[in-house]
């Protein structure tokens, strides 16, 4: 077994055609597809929950109203970050280092979103809305929390992409993967916003 002693680096890559879509892009798309289904499950649970609350006092007595207006500003920030990132991708196509600014801006806007969201949570907990306080609160924290976790994970990916870009080692495929993941976080938010904060 001579080849068993070869390390991965020593093995020359076989002559293969360039795949039509790079591995990591396909991997990310598959992962995002599963995540979309996860959120579809959470949101449909909420739709059914709300349909059973028709005619009841809303929000439930003793529970605060969700800050729709403030979160609308936050939503706008997140959308803006998505748009900026799209410009970043165009800039990258011309010259990679030109994407540094838009990518950084998208990152900053994303961080603003998560930070603002955290401040809001602190406020809501202060007003008596917690996971245990009511099923209303439980749904809010579960769905928005799941989104926040994904947002944080995507931000880490964005930061990683930015540092790779800074060092000039960010490949197109990696940029695409990070972009797809961030777009998932951005685009699933309006659905959550209009369903949960309504």
């Amino acid at each position: 077994m001579e080849s068993a002693t070869l390390t991965d680096r020593e093995r020359t890559e076989p002559p293969r055609r360039e795949p039509a879509v790079p591995n990591c892009v396909i991997g990310t798309i598959l992962f995002v597809g599963t995540e979309i289904m996860l959120f579809a499950g959470l949101i449909s649970a909420h739709v059914i929950f709300m349909s059973e609350r028709i005619g009841e006092l809303w929000p439930p007595p003793g529970q605060p109203r969700l800050p729709f207006e403030e979160t609308a500003i936050n939503t706008a920030a997140l959308m803006a970050s998505g748009i900026v990132l799209a410009f970043g991708r165009l800039a990258y196509n011309q010259q990679p280092r030109r994407a540094l600014l838009p990518l950084g801006m998208a990152l900053a806007l994303g961080m603003f979103f998560v930070g603002f969201q955290g401040v809001e949570w602190v406020g809501l907990i202060g007003e008596g809305l917690t996971l245990q306080s009511s099923t209303y609160g439980a749904f809010f924290y579960t769905i928005v929390g799941a989104h926040a976790l994904h947002a944080v994970a995507a931000l880490i990916c964005l930061a990683w992409a930015w540092s790779r870009l800074w060092r000039g080692t960010l490949g197109k495929a990696h940029f695409d993967s990070v972009q797809i993941f961030w777009y998932f976080v951005v685009l699933v938010w309006p659905v959550i916003f209009f369903q949960v904060y309504q």
Binding site: A4, N23, I26, G27, M37, A45, F49, L131, S134, T135
Partner: protein
């Protein structure tokens, strides 16, 4: 229990020790990213869990046949232990046996070899997948020994029973069970990403979509189905976990939740899951049938399109598990139509396999016997499903032993027969030695005959009104009279379990002393047979990766003297 499964993994590693001369010792195999070693890890963990699941069946079947006796090797079965045993038997057999062995083990072993790649595209994610799976297996076994005992709310885990410790009296067991299931899903998500991407991007030069062996297609389609259906259940699992641990009320009607909601989320996954495990087993069967009848598969594209149709339809049928669960009764007939429609592609799949036999030159050795048995037995499982899909009949048959016998007639061929078929067929490639055919046949008949004797009586019991998950039927005067059927089924089970010893003996003996296997002992066409047995790290020498010139099933081609035509031979 947890210790035992650790040994299994190390046992898997030892079988490979002879191949390895690297400096890092045994750790290299535990932390290996080689798809073949990860496949072995999945295989041996899966087989070990299968043994655990089988022994659980032994314990509760003994209780059913002889209520109240002290079961040899276990002791008296309490009602709670009975519930925990049946629940975990179901969960383990589906999530820790059928899926890891059929999808993860054979998917990992076969996909790179069959498409001519040197490894998976994301080897580290692959390794992570097994590690997560291993943790989940340890957790499910540990859940049986915690305070309060294992979870006993059935594998469907319907709330409110599963949601509150006050109701199920085993809150820790229930939580561990749920976490284990969720982790197992994550492991298969990671695996699925790998399978799909590898098959798309790492194919050998010249290999077109229709040159891929059907078993690879099946595993990949199963992975796609799994990944699309599992999301809602993970969402449900998170909500259920919160209900269990921090006292939210998602599924608690008293707090505005809805118990039916869980059933929707569960069965949205639960039904496609049946096809997730069916497809790989079907792929294995069709590959073996083609090889040993020396026939081209009858209509490769028909098969592929039919499978896609099955996958699509499987998303439309889930509510047939809930006909009498309090869903809108008007919905029921719609779901009956979709459910019965699925019989059309499934019947077509069976017809294709059978048509492949036509005009063949059939050798009945062990793998072929298993593959044919899969068809013969699965057919009974398939047709009995029609009774349950028909709304009018399901009012009576729902949750009886008829259901139980029906899905064992589907899952046993899938998980057990499919596994043995694949294991005996690819054993030479996996371990480089041939298995003993005579012992294999003894094991085959010793498994198949008792299997039918276990479950045919259960059909009768089900039609007689016996419902599921009861630890002692003496409490029901009308059911008590049918005791001889239960005793007969239990006796058959014991016979079947004893015959598994033949398999273990054969397996270990062949591993040690079996005759060395050549590269292509079955004279098959697919690419995995063109490398050494067992394949080296990297599968082929780096400069000799195969090129593909034709489809995988060119047996008895009129232009060629030999009756097989490997995919990699230039014309």
């Amino acid at each position: 229990m947890a210790d035992a499964s650790v040994t299994t993994v190390e046992g898997a590693v030892e079988h490979h020790a002879h191949e390895h001369h690297g400096p890092q010792g045994i750790l290299k195999y535990i932390w290996s990213t080689d798809h073949k070693i990860i496949a072995m890890q999945y295989l041996f963990t899966g087989l070990f869990m299968g043994l655990v699941g089988g022994l659980m069946a032994y314990v509760f079947r003994m209780q059913l046949a002889f209520p109240g006796i002290s079961v040899p090797g276990f002791g008296v079965v309490s009602p709670h232990e009975y519930n925990a045993l049946v629940t975990n038997h179901g969960s383990i057999m589906i999530f820790w046996v059928a899926m890891p062995v059929l999808i993860a083990a054979f998917g990992n072993f076969l996909i790179p070899l069959m498409v001519g790649a040197d490894d998976m595209v994301f080897p580290k994610i692959n390794r992570l997948s097994y590690q997560v799976f291993f943790v989940s297996a340890v957790l499910i076994l540990a859940s049986l020994f915690v305070e309060g005992g294992g979870f006993g709310g059935a594998w469907t885990a319907y709330p409110p029973l599963s949601a509150q410790g006050d109701y199920n009296l085993s809150s820790l067991g229930a939580t561990l069970w749920l976490i284990a299931v969720a982790l197992e899903f994550i492991a298969f998500l990671l695996g699925g990403i790998n399978f799909i991407t590898t098959m798309m991007n790492s194919r050998a030069p010249g290999m077109k979509a229709y040159d891929i062996p059907l078993v690879c297609w099946m595993i990949v389609i199963a992975s796609i189905l799994f990944m699309l259906s599992v999301g809602p259940l993970i969402a449900g699992a998170i909500m259920l976990l919160f209900d269990q641990t921090i006292g939210t009320g998602f599924f608690d009607p008293a707090r505005g939740g809805d118990p039916i909601l869980w059933q929707h989320l569960f069965w949205f996954f639960g039904h496609p899951e049946v096809y997730v495990v069916l497809l790989p087993a079907l792929g294995i069967t069709i590959d073996i049938v083609a090889t040993f009848s020396r026939k081209k598969v009858f209509g490769y594209k028909i098969m592929l399109y039919t499978v896609v149709a099955t996958g699509v339809l499987s998303f439309f049928v889930w509510a047939h598990h809930q006909f009498i669960a309090g869903i809108d009764p008007r919905m029921a007939n719609v779901f009956m139509v979709t459910t019965l429609l699925i019989s059309v592609p499934i019947a077509e799949l069976c017809f294709v396999v059978i048509a492949t036999l036509y005009g063949g030159s059939i050798t009945l050795n062990t793998p072929m016997l298993w593959a044919l048995a899969f068809m013969a037995e699965f057919l009974l499982g398939g047709v009995t499903g029609i009774f349950l899909g028909a709304t009018g009949a399901d009012i009576y048959l729902h949750d009886t032993y008829f259901v139980l016998a029906h899905f064992h007639y589907t899952f046993f061929p899938i998980a057990i027969i499919g596994t043995f078929a694949a294991l005996t067929y690819w054993f030479p490639k996996m371990f480089g030695r041939m298995m003993n055919d005579t012992l294999g046949k003894i094991h085959f008949w010793g498994t198949i005959i008792p299997f039918n004797f276990i479950f045919i009586p259960l059909f009768v019991l089900g039609l007689g009104g016996q419902h599921r998950r009861i630890y002692d039927f003496q409490n029901f005067p009308e059911l008590a009279a049918m005791q001889p059927f239960r005793v007969f089924a239990t006796m058959s089970l014991i016979v079947m379990l004893l015959f598994q010893l033949v398999f273990f003996y054969n397996f270990i003996q062949s591993l040690r002393k079996g005759p060395k296997a050549e590269r292509n002992p079955w004279k098959a066409n697919t690419l995995e047979w063109t490398t050494e047995s067992p394949p080296p790290h990297g599968n082929w020498p780096p400069d000799q990766l195969p090129r593909v010139y034709r489809g995988p099933y060119e047996y008895a081609h009129p232009d060629r003297e030999e009756d097989y035509w490997p995919q990699n031979l230039p014309a």
